[in-house]
């Protein structure tokens, strides 16, 4: 019997050993429990967020939480639901924008999106507007998710949105942005359709997008 409450707490406490041993157990013996595990880990990430806000945790702890979450999800990846045959999965172009090398948050988003059955094309970091537009067209993707941490990433995001317009495909895609440099109002100002405050929010936005 897995105690999901304790799992959430262990994730919140950054208890590496406890979290990874549950992930391994579920992956090997109880794969049907994966969705509940993911929910517990997400609750744990919320706890981490609260501890960061209350100053108990600092940036290093956030990074560690991100890595721990990623590791757990990688272990569980073989158990992710496979979409039924003949159903095309929704494609999401995911990238950290031009000039920014941060990718921990982006990598977590990738894993959460994949766990919900979305197909993610991860373009990595420092992705130029032109490259993002080209890949979006090539893949026929309808969702573009942009990540950025540094302040000048806002400008890169804006230029990416403009590039999508210039290529004539802005109307066809949903642009969601996330990361430390953006918030609800900045997202609006730079021309995005939505702001993904957490990986879960971003997943909801992607699943709801046309």
């Amino acid at each position: 019997m897995i105690d999901f409450e304790k799992l959430a707490e262990d994730m919140g406490d950054l208890n590496e050993q406890a979290v990874l041993s549950i992930a391994r157990r579920v992956a090997e013996e109880e794969p049907e429990k994966t969705p509940e595990v993911l929910q517990a880990l997400s609750r744990g990430m919320d706890i981490v967020g609260k501890k960061f806000d209350s100053l108990e945790y600092f940036v290093g702890d956030l990074i560690f939480a991100g890595e721990l979450f990623s590791q757990a999800l990688e272990i569980l990846r073989p158990t992710f639901p496979k979409p039924p045959e003949n159903v095309e999965r929704k494609k999401v172009i995911l990238a950290t924008v031009e000039g920014d090398l941060h990718d921990i948050g982006k990598n977590i988003v990738r894993l959460v999106l994949q766990s919900k059955g979305l197909e993610v094309i991860d373009m990595g970091v420092d992705a130029s507007p032109a490259a993002i537009v080209q890949r979006t067209i090539e893949e026929g993707a309808r969702i573009v998710a942009l990540s950025g941490v540094l302040t000048f990433a806002i400008d890169s995001m804006k230029r990416t949105v403009e590039a999508l317009s210039a290529a004539g495909i802005r109307e066809r895609v949903t642009v969601v942005v996330g990361g430390a440099c953006v918030n609800e109002s900045i997202a609006k100002r730079l021309g995005a359709d939505a702001y993904g405050k957490t990986p879960e929010d971003t997943a909801s936005i992607c699943l709801a997008a046309k």
Binding site: L55, F58, G99
Partner: protein
Amino acid sequence: MPTIRIFPGDIRAEVPSGANLMKALRDAGVFLDAPCGGHGKCGKCAVTVDGGTVLSCQVSVEADMTVTIPEKSGLNVLRAGIETAAKLNPHREGDLIAIDIGTTSVVCFLLDGQDGRELSSASALNAQTAFGADVISRIRAALSGELKSQRDVIRRQLTGLIAEACRKAGRDPGGIGTVAVVGNPAMQQLFLGISPENLAAVPFDPVLTEAKTVPCGDYLPICENALLLVVPDISGYIGADTMGCVLSTGLYEAEELTLMVDIGTNGEMVLGDRNRMIACSTAAGPALEGANIRFGMRGTDGAIDHVWMEDGALRCSVIGGGEARGICGSGLIDAVAVLLEAGLLNKRGRIQSQTERDGQRVIDLTEKVYLTQDDIRQLQMAKGAICAGVQLLAKQLGCGVEDIKKVLLAGAFGSYMNPDSACRIGLLPEELRGKITAVGNAAGSGAKLLACDRDYLALSQKLKDKIEFLELASLPEFPITLARAMNFREAEKQ
């Protein structure tokens, strides 16, 4: 046009109406500290205007005003590096000048042309500090139209230092035959007047890749008869100053695995021996030099420079012996080591006491000086960066941190810091305890070697090609290594 009267000295300057006061003071030759780059954030440019205290970076001059600059006492600038024996074989006959343009302090040495011995030296706070305390701020300023200003400011300052050194030794600047300059890539480029756009964006490639000699008169007319040595940079963030350290410490011919660290704003380090050397830059930030710390200050009078526990009470020593008005880097490191042992900080850096001031937890050190939660966080970022740099260099070299036989700390900070405290707080990995020596201004010593013996310039070109550069941010394991390095080791439970 309004006139400002500046005291002390009663300097008068006419200033265009609406001009920024800090800039006007700078134009009049008064350089104020501006670690935040003039954005009204650090409070260090405060002056008294007509009786009231204002931040000069936030004031426009509209009418005549009287400005009083707060008194500052002398800064402890470290000059003596390790004196390495060099044969005298300069590029050109005559006295020798060796200059180290540090981000924070600039120092100039005058050496005798007959036997290479040091005759005098002169030093000052880098006047470019007015454009920002750190390299990034200065690069940004240069790219926003202030390249020429910064170039002229440093050249003016170096001219003054050369003149001062010559005066002290009774030598004529016209008799100088060789001038060797070292500095990090940004400092070098700003001095030479080369736009630093290569340093502002990925892939951060260096432009000064070739060692060469040029007429010094084109850059510093005071040395009209001298050759200026341009020392190559190793990468966009590892420069001629690190090269100078490698030369003077002899790391390039070391038999044992040696780590050389310059614990300053940029945190450059080189690990290796005669067979292989790898360098990286850790962007530690200015916390260890007092910036962004509530009561942070440089190593000058009034700064707590050491902290320890005695009879169950916290004790501080203060530079100059008077009342503490702030704390400098070495004091900060000691304080955190003491607080960890006392259980007042947990392994994540959270202050365990419940005393709050201005909305955050604090720990009192003296009646006036206290540390805030933010201060601890700033230190965590700085020390985490440096520690992670060491660990990743070792990994890249394929060895364990415990295999390092010698650790050489270059730079002023390395000489004042308590190495045991540094290991206790994890600024340097604990495995290095007991292997650490301070080597003082190794960059300056390197500049001296380059000036004395022409073979060193050719050697610097060879080493530039040999020393590998590790871009930490591109390593997948960098974030997690950094995150772990930011934590502390808690005291043993009794």
